[in-house]
Amino acid sequence: MRDAVLSIQDFRKKYGDFTAVAGISFEVHSGEIFGLLGPNGAGKTSTLECLEGIRKPEGGKLKVLDIDPSRDSRKLRNLIGVQLQTSSLPANMTVDEAMKFFCAYHSVLPRYDLLDRMGLGEKRGSQYHELSTGQQRRLALALAVAHRPPVVILDEPTAGLDVASRTELHTLMQELKNENIAILLATHDMAEAEKMTDRVAILLKGNIVAAGSPNELTATGSGFTKVSIRTEDSLLHKNGTTFPGVSQRVIKEEYAIYYSTDPAPTVTALLDYVRQNNDRLIDLRVERPSLEERFLEITQIGAQQ
């Protein structure tokens, strides 16, 4: 097992009477991308801000590289790279100046190469207020990783980014992971979490309601697998026959779609039916639920409780 570079045990955070985080625990290891997922107000940003030393927790233990952020936040400055959800830079600061400014405080040489990689090469002389939202986010990301920290904390990094920037960011994250850097990623984007993370924790009302790898999460729960079948004569469209494991049938255009809790017998029975009725199979798709579908299921169950 790799070293845990970031650990949270029974972490709690309140704002007045409102409990934002009600006692959560997880660890992030070096070379791992860990996703923190949850709807708005779930406690993601509070968790990240306490890890960054911006806010103080009400209880529990937080350690980043064995440093308690609430006590020794200054020691952490060169060891973590942070892209905040709500932050800004001085309006008149140019892109080049921002890189020089923060690198000087981290005692490293400016990483102008990162500006080129983030598509800001032609904007190096532009002032912060002249950049688009996406460009401002890309600059924040470049600044977060410029000093090559062993732990990177990203809060909604791809919000407002176009497809090309998002792809570039994902490549950059993968490179950081390959360099054994731990990344804690808070995101609303389930496709991003499914694609990029090794493990995720789903936060709801300040509690972790599910945790594991995206594959583990999508394999659990109600476990509906979507079986879509298209045949030449569309006999299944008219057929009311029940098939093993199927709980629901939907007709969508030329496909009959079956939601099954046990897809292997369902597929076998469907193929047997098509063959026995002299219909001809054109297309068959078996799809596991996406992380997004699983997330919605988990958060809906959590919201009802």
């Binding site: 806010r55 400055r77 905040l84 008149n92 000087a104 002032q127």
Partner: protein
């Protein structure tokens, strides 16, 4: 380039790039100087005797009291200090560097005024240029500290204007800047003693121009120095990184402790 010099260089350039700061640092003080030199000297020829220190004090007050606090509040509101905090920019740099840069701009204007007032408007020059320079530096430090403190304790840009004007306008009227203290009724003098400009002008008069003063000029220098030190200490102590995070080391009303040197000054004089 070190982090400090890099930061200072950026703040100095901001003072020229930002139209509001450009106005506060240069256009307003120099425009006011030209107007006073052309008009006020004609109306009141005696004003020539105090033209240089008066306009220097006004320039310093405009840059530090009117120009410095707003950007401090706006930076906090916009989350700029959050970015600074996570990247290890210390509180001292966040406060002191913009203050130093503002003082630097104010000193440039002060030099322009000091060098040109005599040939352009027949303004009286100081007997002791060294004392003049030292008092100018001390005044810039003191007003810079006050500007910082206003920026730190104000909850919004609007409230910075109120706090700044609370010092700026009375200073112009009864702080010895536009009219000598000797012209004021005796009942107003204790109120004038609550204004830092009064001590700055008395220090200039007594030590740089070496004329008789109502207040002891050495005590005036000590009051100005104490006021500056109190302001910087309180601003650093009460500094808040984040408008969304109410954690603060002390209540903003503690800033009123800055009145202590002024009250002591009134009692001593």
């Amino acid at each position: 380039m070190s982090a400090f010099t890099n930061h200072f260089s950026f703040e100095f350039k901001t003072g020229l790039r930002n139209p509001t700061l450009m106005l506060m640092n240069y256009l307003f003080p120099l425009g006011f100087y030209a107007m006073m030199g052309l008009v006020m000297v004609q109306i009141n020829p005696g004003f020539k005797d105090t033209l240089i220190p008066s306009i220097v004090i006004v320039s310093i007050m405009v840059s530090t009291l009117l120009g410095l606090p707003g950007p401090l509040v706006e930076s906090r509101e916009a989350g700029i200090y959050r970015s600074f905090k996570i990247n290890g920019v210390p509180v001292f740099s966040i406060l002191i560097i913009p203050c130093l840069s503002t003082i630097f701009h104010a000193l440039i204007v002060s030099v322009i005024i000091a060098v040109t007032a005599a040939p352009l408007f027949d303004g009286a020059v100081p007997v002791s240029w060294l004392n003049f320079a030292l008092i100018t530096l001390l005044s810039a430090f003191t007003f810079g500290g006050l500007g910082m403190l206003i920026g730190v304790v104000s909850t919004s840009s609007r409230s910075t204007v109120l706090w700044s004007q609370l010092i700026f306008l009375p200073s112009m009227l009864i702080g010895g800047v536009m009219m000598p203290l000797s012209f004021l009724p005796e009942s107003v003098l204790p109120i004038a003693g609550l204004l830092p400009s009064t001590y700055a002008m008395q220090a200039y008069q007594g030590l740089a121009y070496q004329v008789d003063t109502i207040y002891n000029p050495v005590v005036s220098v000590l009051v100005l120095a104490a006021l500056g030190i109190f302001s910087v200490f309180l601003a650093t102590y009460l500094f808040s990184w984040d408008s969304q995070n109410s954690t603060r080391r002390g209540h903003p009303l503690l800033a009123l402790l800055v009145l202590v040197p002024l009250i002591v000054g009134i009692l001593l004089i």
